[in-house]
């Protein structure tokens, strides 16, 4: 990603940083939660959109990371950043292990396996209430005081999202990104082309799970209370809906989906449960008419608009609809 799309994203980021001071606490909170989802959707996009590994265990890793950090801090009084790093490291290892166990699975089998894993994690956290406080909620230490302003959380969430996008962007634009897409398209052909399929599948799971844990640990030390519902299938469905509505095969569109759905969800709060019906309808229409997501056409338009015009040199070089080398993110 370079040129105009990068400039537009940078401008949006600057605008957000400038105008956040004019927002009230409620909308700052909505923006923070949107960025929390932004980390989740971008990393899930890496796994499901790029590598084609449709895992439903993403929120389970967010939950494991969150509980690991919160409990280590509670038991050993370690600094919060260290707890967060421990949660992320554990989820990278656990993600790699799940990736290894699922090596021969894809499509619905992988989805069902990770769904079962997710439910096992949620029920374990729920049942072991002597350790996790179960559904009563585990009180966590917050990163900053919540009494004054939420702005420090906003800036931190912003930095974490920006850092995550930079890292995930580096991955998808590198040869690793190309290999992951090749694996998504045809594992056998990727292997015949020299791609170490098993290694890259495991790597995709490990990296995505690490980012899920980053989001989960931030959430734990922002909200101040942690329940097993962080790893529920409801929240997993929200991440899937956001990513699919935005466009799961590109990182910016997946993040755009998180922001669009989160802000719309709050904006439509007056409609109560009906807003969920509206989102259901949007999802149906997306799957029927815009499988690449609703934001993807706008993003591609922006990418095309920013491309230098080519001088025709005889044979036509067909314009590429999607994922031109290096434009995947």
């Amino acid at each position: 990603m370079r040129g105009l799309p990068a400039a537009v994203l940078a401008a949006l980021a600057v605008l957000a940083l400038v105008f956040v001071r004019g927002l009230n606490d409620y909308w700052i909170h909505v923006a923070i939660i949107a960025m929390f989802y932004g980390i989740l959707t971008s990393s899930w996009s890496l796994l499901a959109g790029y590598a084609g590994l449709f895992s439903l265990g993403h929120m389970a890793f967010a939950s494991i990371g969150a509980y690991t950090s919160a409990l280590l801090i509670q038991w050993y009084h370690i600094p919060i950043p260290l707890g967060m790093v421990a949660g992320i490291a554990l989820c990278c290892l656990l993600g790699a292990w799940i990736g290894w166990v699922c090596l021969r699975m894809s499509g619905p089998y992988l989805a069902i396996f990770t769904l079962a894993f997710s439910e096992i994690v949620r029920i374990t956290f729920s049942t072991e209430d002597e350790v996790t406080a179960g559904m009563a909620g585990l009180h966590t230490v917050t990163l900053f005081s919540t009494q004054a302003s939420r702005l420090p959380f906003f800036y931190l969430a912003f930095a974490l999202l920006a850092g995550s996008l930079a890292l995930i962007g580096l991955i998808v634009h590198s040869r690793w990104g190309l290999f992951l897409r090749a694996i998504r398209e045809d594992e056998q052909a990727a292997a015949a082309s020299g791609v170490a399929v098993a290694r890259f599948r495991i790597l995709a799971f490990a990296v995505a799970s690490g980012f899920a844990a980053l989001a989960g640990t931030f959430y734990a030390h922002y909200i101040g209370i942690l329940t097993p519902s962080l790893g529920s299938l409801d929240l997993m469905a929200v991440v899937v809906v956001m990513t699919v509505i935005g466009g799961m095969e590109r990182i910016p569109t997946a993040v755009g989906g998180a922001f669009a759905v989160e802000f719309l969800q709050e904006y439509l709060r007056a409609y109560g449960e009906w807003r969920l019906v509206i989102f259901g309808l949007i999802l149906l229409l997306t799957m029927r008419f815009a499988r690449n997501g609703l934001i993807t056409p706008l993003w591609l338009q922006l990418v095309r608009f920013g491309e230098p015009r080519r001088v025709s040199a005889g044979a036509p070089t067909a314009p590429r609809e999607a994922g031109q080398e290096g434009s995947g993110g």
Partner: protein
Amino acid sequence: MNGPAGPDATRTLVSGAALRRHFGGITATDGVDFSVVEGDLIGLIGPNGSGKTTLINMLTGHLNPDAGDVLVRGRRMTGRPPHEFASLGVARTFQLTQLFGRMTVLENMLVPGLTRPRSNRESAARQARHYLTFLNLIHLEGLDAKNLSGGQQKLLELGRALMLEPSVLFLDEPFAGVHPKLRDELIRRIEELHASGRTFVVVDHDMESILRVARRLVVMARGRKIADGPPAAVRADQTVLAAYSGL
């Protein structure tokens, strides 16, 4: 006429010894010996279900034999994953073309190019464009692979295999479903590549095309190798004629 005519062990690129593979109750290959010597252009033929694809799947790491051994340049590779075969210069195409459909023609070429040690995007792209020009696909480099015609897809799959700079290429039914004009082009390209030092194993039903390119013919029937030698001699073999006419 069984057994290759004394392959030079030092020049043997890929070999399979007593390869046996069952699928359920069916024996796909039954103790097949097969070796590919540097500079070979082997035509591997046989009726449907004779075990040709199973054999090359085992020789390229895509299938583990139930018994027997696979060696690449003398190194035992039985049970190793396909990407390790690719890194040793064993490339292949598939019976039903398997491209990265939603990736561009150039990206399809870059994938194997970038798996090579010390490769970078610039040199891989340069090499890819060289082969795309050779295969007359350069004007399509920005197009998604799924949008190519059947023949162009076969050519791209060959190009993708060439990006590994392989010492031996296994082509599984490269002429199937290809327009005669493109088939001629494919044959020309294979001959040119062979003349430049590449080694080929070509599997196909299209006897006419195989006989146009092959310098050595291997015939399989019912999971066994029934003939191996110069095309003229194999064609005259009564066992081959019987197997090929379904007797």
